[in-house]
C-alpha cells in the first residue's frame, strides 16, 4: 500500500515528501468547456505559459516561443470544447506543446540552436530578462535559491541528455505526476521513475562537483 509521508514536525522525524503542488486544472477545463469566459481566459493563458516555458527550458528556442504559444493557444481553444476527460487535459497540453516544439525544431534543422542562458532568465539591475522569477507566489525555498546556484543547476540541467531533461522538466519544474509524465512521453511509469532517479543523481553530482 502506498503511503503519504507526514510533514516533518521536529528533528529526527521523517522529512516531508517533495510532492509538487498542482492547481486543480481539471476544474478549470470543466468550467471553460461549460462556457465560463474567465476560466477560458485563464486556461488559454496557462497553455501559453506552458508553451513558453517548454520552448525556453527544453527546446532552447526563445525566438520561436511566440509561435509555439500561438499554436498552443489555438489547439487548446479547439480541444477544450470537445474534451471528454478534463483531468487528462494536462498531459494532452504538454504532449501538444512538445509536438509543436519538435515540429519547429525539425523545420529549422541545421540552424544554430540558441539555448536560453540563466542570465536571460534572472532579473538583473540593468537588463531585460526573458522570464521573471520574482513571482509573488514563489515559495520561500525558491526565494532562497541564489542566482549562482540557479546557474549551476541550469548548466547541469542543460547537460542532461534530452530524454532525461524532459522528465526533469515535466516532473520537477512543471510538477506533473509520474503518471502524467508517462502519458506525455508515452512511456511506462517505471521508466519515468528510472529516468528521474538517474537524472537526479546526475544533477546532484554536477551540483556537488562544482561547489
Amino acid at each position: 500500500m502506498k503511503r503519504k509521508q507526514e510533514a516533518r514536525s521536529s528533528p529526527g522525524e521523517r522529512p516531508a515528501p517533495l510532492v509538487p503542488t498542482t492547481p486543480a486544472y481539471g476544474d478549470l477545463v470543466r468550467a471553460a468547456a461549460g462556457g465560463d469566459t474567465g476560466a477560458m481566459e485563464d486556461l488559454l493563458m496557462w497553455a501559453q505559459e506552458v508553451a513558453y516555458r517548454f520552448s525556453v527550458h527544453v527546446c532552447g528556442g526563445v525566438d520561436e516561443a511566440d509561435d509555439v504559444m500561438q499554436e498552443a493557444l489555438l489547439l487548446t481553444f479547439r480541444h477544450v470544447k470537445r474534451v471528454r476527460n478534463p483531468d487528462a487535459f494536462r498531459p494532452w497540453l504538454y504532449r501538444t506543446v512538445r509536438n509543436a516544439c519538435l515540429m519547429r525544431r525539425r523545420r529549422r534543422a541545421g540552424e544554430p540552436m540558441h539555448m536560453a542562458s540563466l542570465d536571460e532568465l534572472i532579473p538583473t539591475p540593468d537588463g531585460l530578462m526573458a522570464l521573471d522569477p520574482t513571482d509573488p507566489g514563489r515559495s520561500p525555498e525558491a526565494a532562497l535559491v541564489s542566482t549562482r546556484l540557479r546557474r549551476r543547476m541550469q548548466a547541469a540541467f542543460r547537460s542532461l541528455p534530452a530524454p532525461f531533461r524532459l522528465v526533469v522538466f515535466l516532473r520537477e519544474m512543471e510538477g506533473l505526476s509520474t503518471h502524467e509524465v508517462a502519458q506525455v512521453l508515452r512511456i511506462s511509469n517505471a521508466n519515468v521513475k528510472t529516468r528521474l532517479h538517474r537524472a537526479r543523481l546526475f544533477l546532484r553530482q554536477r551540483l556537488e562537483e562544482r561547489v
Binding site: T37, M69, D135, R200, L201, F202
Partner: protein
C-alpha cells in the same frame, strides 16, 4: 555529454539487513517523493540512519531536487504576457463573431 549512470554510487557497497547500499539507493527518489510503502520506508530510514554515505546522498539529492524545482518557478515577462493576452482576446472575439454574439 555523458549519460547519467544507472546506479552510480559514491562508495563501496555495504550491506545492512541483507540489502546493499546499491539496492537501497535506487529507492531514494521514491522515498523523497513519498511513494514508498511503509515497510520500504522503514527499511530505508534504518539504513540511512546507519550508513553515513547513503544518508549524505539522500540529503544532497533532496537539496538538488529543491534547487531544480525552484529554478523552474518562473513567470512570463511583461511583454510576452501582453502579447499572450492580446492573442486570447483575438481568439475569443473571433469565436463570438462566429457564434453570432457580435454582429
Amino acid at each position: 555529454m555523458t549519460k547519467p549512470s544507472r546506479t552510480r554510487h559514491d562508495h563501496a557497497p555495504t550491506s545492512h539487513a541483507g540489502q546493499s547500499c546499491i539496492d537501497l539507493v535506487t529507492t531514494i527518489s521514491d522515498y523523497l517523493d513519498g511513494e514508498l510503502t511503509e515497510e520500504h520506508c522503514r527499511n530505508l530510514e534504518a539504513h540511512l540512519a546507519r550508513c553515513v554515505c547513503c544518508g549524505n546522498l539522500a540529503e544532497s539529492l533532496r537539496r538538488s531536487v529543491a534547487v531544480c524545482r525552484a529554478s523552474g518557478q518562473t513567470r512570463l515577462p511583461a511583454d510576452v504576457r501582453r502579447r499572450a493576452r492580446n492573442r486570447i482576446a483575438e481568439v475569443l472575439t473571433g469565436s463570438d463573431r462566429r457564434d453570432g454574439r457580435h454582429p
